[in-house]
């Protein structure tokens, strides 16, 4: 995966997190975000963001980081 693609996926995942940040806790929000990624993202995209999170998760918002960590 190229740097541009990684940046796009990070932006997309963060967007999902921001739009679900109204839940009572980061834990609850992360569940919703993780579920969204499982329902709507192709496995290759999920693998790519997991790989990014393992290498360098600095651009991921806390909810996103938590959600990605919950992906199977």
């Amino acid at each position: 995966m190229g740097a541009d693609s990684a940046k796009k996926l990070v932006n997309m995942a963060n967007q999902i997190a921001i739009n679900n940040s109204h839940y009572s806790s980061d834990e609850a929000a992360a569940d919703v975000v993780a579920n969204h990624l499982k329902r709507f993202w192709a496995p290759a995209m999920r693998e790519a963001i997991k790989h990014y999170a393992e290498q360098d998760s600095t651009e991921l918002l806390p909810i996103t980081r938590l959600a990605v960590s919950r992906l199977p």
Partner: protein, 952 residues
């Protein structure tokens, strides 16, 4: 087809609705009709056709010709039966010697000032004046023809599709009334009085320079040859007709394709069409010439690389070539390295087959559709809140709406037939609230009683809908009974606490939206306090970074005010293309099988696997933008695109072009060499809606039949091409007719289990869900319960888009479409509609133009972080300062070179409606345009020669 009335019969005056039935006797026959029904209509209903000229059942009675005079027991004289309502116990006689003489005298006067050229007249055999002369037994004209007359009146041929021959006009006013009542444009009038009276296009010189929108309602209403289609003048009257469905916008108008042999002479809107009820627009009625345009691709073509000439080959060779390439790619790069795109312009059956091919023959879920770039947030948002990914109403429901909220939609341009219905209701007194950055034409509706315009800044929809809902809740305007009974309590309480926050008040959000708080409060009160409040929305809602959130916000507002589940209310997405609803229903999205059933649901997948006979992937596939990214990364190598032009319609053109260039095999199935096909290796000829059988589903979930009226120019209907490709890939498909495909859809889709071609023939059309519970379909959804039980309010926090105006890009660009052109223009650009819009222009406010030294018509460069293009300027007060607008109908405009990769958080629907740009005067095309021009010329030259002439 069967229907509840004979749509071909003209009953003289419109039907009336009343709970009171009135008993009358006409020529000794008894009939019971609703109170308010005219004597003319009542007579027609018992099979007595009273002669008439100025009356027709699509228009209110006018009573000018007096030909329909009758005798009524106990009344003096001979009243016009069209303007006389029935009364209890009334006894009517329609034929007496006196009436016969009166009618002959009337006809004699008409004919004394009418050309006697029936045998050479273009309406010969299809003329009501001619019919009535026969009906009344006119045998002489005692006045002669030498007196003052109108026989030398000039003919207006300025409109490309119809002519106006004033010498044949009987001034019955049907055209004027059709323009007012049916279309709502008020472009025509009767000028002067008495003998000097004539039909006029207002202060304009001719039709083309008038306010006329060329809907053709006047042509259809004209009882003579005064207003007539030029094609009828040129080709004669048609000899057969077939009812089918329009292939333009999501209104889904029914038409009679009136034919001579295999040639369409004219398209006449079908009175029995439940969506359009006999009305049409300039596209559907007139712009069908593209079907036989010289640019049609009539034979399959292949090439190894996009810089090579196309080779015309047999269907077998082309299909084998495509299948072998796809198989080779998968062998080298893996099962997920190919995918495809279904079309919202193709039929349900064709769309179903393409996604089936991808899932079953490609073995992955890399299927997507152009709804990705328009209404995918509608599916997400409505499913989350109401439990079903579809609008809730019929179009007809607007007749009962008291307050109409239109958000991010321009119905008079993009959904013109519904726009006319809407205007009719507004003239009757309904309140109009428009939330749109532009002052759309709906706000200029003649005789509009009351309107509020909320001119919000692009990108602030969610802030505005929250502010509206805040007013409803904090001022106690909500419908507590509905909320308690029909909505999830916990979700409502959370939402209520959220929406009550002062940060959601109109005052707090005024700086964000740019809308005055008192206007927002006024709009919220009007909507909430109306007996029936209906919401209509378009791509101005969905094509945002918070498109899905906004759809949920709209559902919240409808639920909070109790405006769901009956006539006159509801959430109504206005779908852009003819089969957007259908393409979504048919499982085009990568995560859903037909009927919005998730691929990860084991029980669902097992049913599909059992019927399709192959194991299916349980994971979502790639969406269109994901496919592009994967292609550029070298992970995605092959694509099958049916009936879409992603190179022109999708955002960030240069990114799309780079992705398409990266593919090893691009198979495009289309009727023309469209922009995408210029990057293709296989070009499979498509068939137009006139050349195939199938169904389209319109924006009100109405499944309408598409009927073949001519053979496919290249020999195959689109579903047959997909079938051949599946078979060549080793996955057997063997359907004999699209009805068999629909039968399979019904087996697998819970909302379609009751749908069949037989039932469509019986009912005319069906609104899904159609199943055991709703055997004849569901006009209004959620009347008693939601598919999810109780509706769920959703928290809709406003998150500003990252695409903001800056010092470098100080203006915000929105894009859209106009009346005469359709989407990427592939169809309408190949018709005479070009006369109205031959180029895309950049619309901007006079103040933005002035500070930049831009005059109307100047060439201007528009730049964004994605790219640059050049258009001519159109200076317009319709825009608000700081906002510019353009259309994307012409590929050389490069409108999507400027739009960016920003998209909706939930669905990746592109944010077409907000792009930060700068606009400056320029004198030359952009680099992209120069490059496009070179590429286009090169690609045209690679086509096989036609008739010995090169294609340059």
């Amino acid at each position: 087809m069967l229907s509840y009335f004979d749509p071909k019969k003209d009953l003289g005056t419109p039907a009336k609705e009343s709970a009171t039935q009135v008993s009358v006797q006409i020529d000794g026959r008894d009939i019971l009709v609703p109170e308010g029904t005219s004597v003319l209509r009542a007579a027609s209903l018992v099979g007595i056709d009273i002669p008439k000229l100025c009356a027709t059942d699509s228009l209110e009675a006018f009573g000018s010709c007096r030909l329909c005079a009758v005798a009524i027991e106990g009344r003096r004289g001979f009243p016009a039966s069209c303007t006389t309502p029935v009364e209890e116990g009334m006894s009517v006689t329609t034929q007496t010697p006196q009436l016969a003489k009166l009618r002959r005298n009337i006809m004699e006067l008409y004919i004394s000032d009418h050309p006697l050229d029936c045998l050479t007249c273009s309406a010969n055999g299809d003329c009501e004046l001619q019919d009535m002369a026969g009906a009344v037994g006119l045998r002489e004209v005692r006045y002669g023809f030498a007196g003052a007359n109108h026989l030398e009146q000039p003919k207006d041929t300025s409109n490309p599709y119809f002519s106006f021959d004033a010498s044949k006009c009987i001034v019955c006013s049907r055209c004027v009334r059709a323009c007012e009542e049916t279309q709502g444009t008020f472009a025509l009038t009767v000028e002067k009085r008495g003998f000097d009276a004539k039909i006029s296009v207002g202060s304009a010189e001719d039709f083309i320079s008038s306010d006329c929108v060329s809907c053709g309602a006047c042509v259809q209403a004209c009882p003579t040859a005064t207003l007539i289609e030029k094609r009828v003048e040129e080709h004669g009257t048609p000899d057969r007709s077939i009812v089918t469905t329009c292939a333009y916008c999501g209104v889904g108008c029914s038409f009679e394709a009136q034919m001579k042999g295999n040639e369409v002479i004219r398209m006449v809107p079908f009175k029995g069409g439940a969506a359009n009820q006999g009305h049409a627009c300039v596209k559907g009625r007139f712009a069908f010439g593209y079907a036989t345009h010289k640019d049609r691709i009539k034979a399959p073509m292949i090439r190894d690389a996009i810089d090579q000439p196309w080779r015309t080959v047999s269907w077998d060779e082309a299909i084998t070539f495509a299948a072998e390439r796809f198989k080779a790619i998968q062998a080298q790069h893996g099962r997920n390295s190919i995918g495809g795109i279904t079309s919202s312009r193709c039929t349900n059956e064709e769309t179903y087959l393409v996604q089936k091919l991808i899932r079953a023959a490609f073995g992955n879920n890399n299927t997507d559709t152009c709804a990705r770039v328009c209404h995918s947030p509608t599916g997400f948002g409505l499913k989350a809140t109401l439990g079903e990914s579809a609008g809730t109403q019929t179009f007809d429901s607007v007749r009962f709406a008291d307050a109409i909220l239109v958000i991010g939609a321009n119905p008079t341009d993009a959904h013109p037939v519904f726009g006319s219905q809407l205007r009719r209701r507004l003239r009757e007194g309904a309140d109009l609230i428009v939330a749109d950055p532009r002052k759309i034409d709906l706000l200029k509706t003649p005789h509009l009683s009351s309107a509020v315009h909320l001119p919000l800044r692009p990108g602030t929809n969610v802030a505005l809908i929250n502010a509206l809902a805040h007013v409803v809740i904090t001022e106690g305007l909500e419908d507590r009974a509905f909320i308690t009974e029909r909505c999830d309590t916990a979700a409502f309480e959370q939402w209520e606490a959220f929406i009550k926050q002062s940060s959601n008040s109109p005052e707090a959000l005024a700086d964000v939206t740019g809308v005055a708080p008192e206007q927002v409060r006024e709009a919220a009160r009007r909507f909430a306090q109306a007996a029936n409040g209906a919401i209509y929305y378009g791509l101005g809602v969905t094509e945002h970074s918070q498109g899905s959130t906004m759809v949920m916000g709209i559902a919240n507002l409808a639920l909070a005010t109790g405006n769901i589940g009956r006539e006159g209310v509801g959430v109504n997405p206005l779908r852009g293309q003819n089969n957007v609803q259908g393409s979504c229903d048919m499982g085009s999205f990568p995560h859903e099988f037909p009927g919005y059933q998730h691929v990860g649901d084991d029980a669902v997948r097992t049913r599909f696997e059992a019927l399709w006979g192959v194991p299916l992937d349980a994971e979502p596939g790639l969406r269109i933008p994901n496919m592009f990214d994967a292609a550029i990364n070298g992970e995605f190598k092959g694509m099958y695109v049916q009936g879409e032009d992603i190179a022109q319609s999708d955002p960030d053109t240069q990114h799309v072009e780079a992705a398409l260039r990266s593919l090893d095999c691009l198979v495009v199935q289309d009727i023309f060499l469209n922009e995408t096909a210029k990057f293709a290796h296989v070009l499979l000829p498509g068939s137009t809606f006139l050349e195939k059988d199938g169904t389209f589903t319109n924006a009100e979930r109405r499944i309408n039949r598409v009927r073949k009226v001519m053979p496919p120019l290249a020999g195959k209907e689109d579903w047959q091409v997909t079938m051949a490709l599946a078979n060549a890939l080793g996955y057997p498909m063997n359907y004999g007719h699209p009805s068999e495909i629909m039968d399979e859809i019904a087996q697998l889709t819970p909302t379609f289990t009751g749908v069949s071609y037989n039932k469509l023939e019986q009912l005319g059309s069906i609104q899904w869900p159609c199943n055991e519970q709703y055997p004849e379909g569901t006009p209004i959804m959620h009347e008693m319960e939601f598919p999810i039980g109780k509706a769920r309010f959703a928290i809709t926090t406003f998150v500003p888009t990252e695409e903001r105006s800056t010092r470098r890009y100080p203006l915000l660009l929105t894009t859209g479409r106009i009346l005469s052109q359709y989407n990427v223009g592939a169809q309408t650009r190949r018709t005479d509609n070009q006369i109205w819009h031959h180029e895309d222009r950049l619309e901007l406010h006079p103040s933005d133009a002035q500070v930049r030294g831009i005059k109307d018509g100047d060439w201007v460069g528009i730049s964004s972080r994605a790219g640059e293009t050049v258009l001519r300027a159109l200076i317009s007060e319709r825009m608000q300062p700081g906002v510019v607008y353009t259309t994307f109908h012409h590929p050389e405009s490069g409108a999507n070179v400027i739009t960016t990769d920003a998209s909706d958080w939930a669905t990746n629907c592109p944010e077409y409606k907000v792009t930060a740009v700068q606009v400056v005067p320029v004198s030359a095309p952009s680099d992209w345009q120069a490059s496009y021009s070179r590429f286009d010329i090169a690609q045209q030259s690679l086509l096989p020669e036609k008739d010995g002439l090169p294609n340059v």
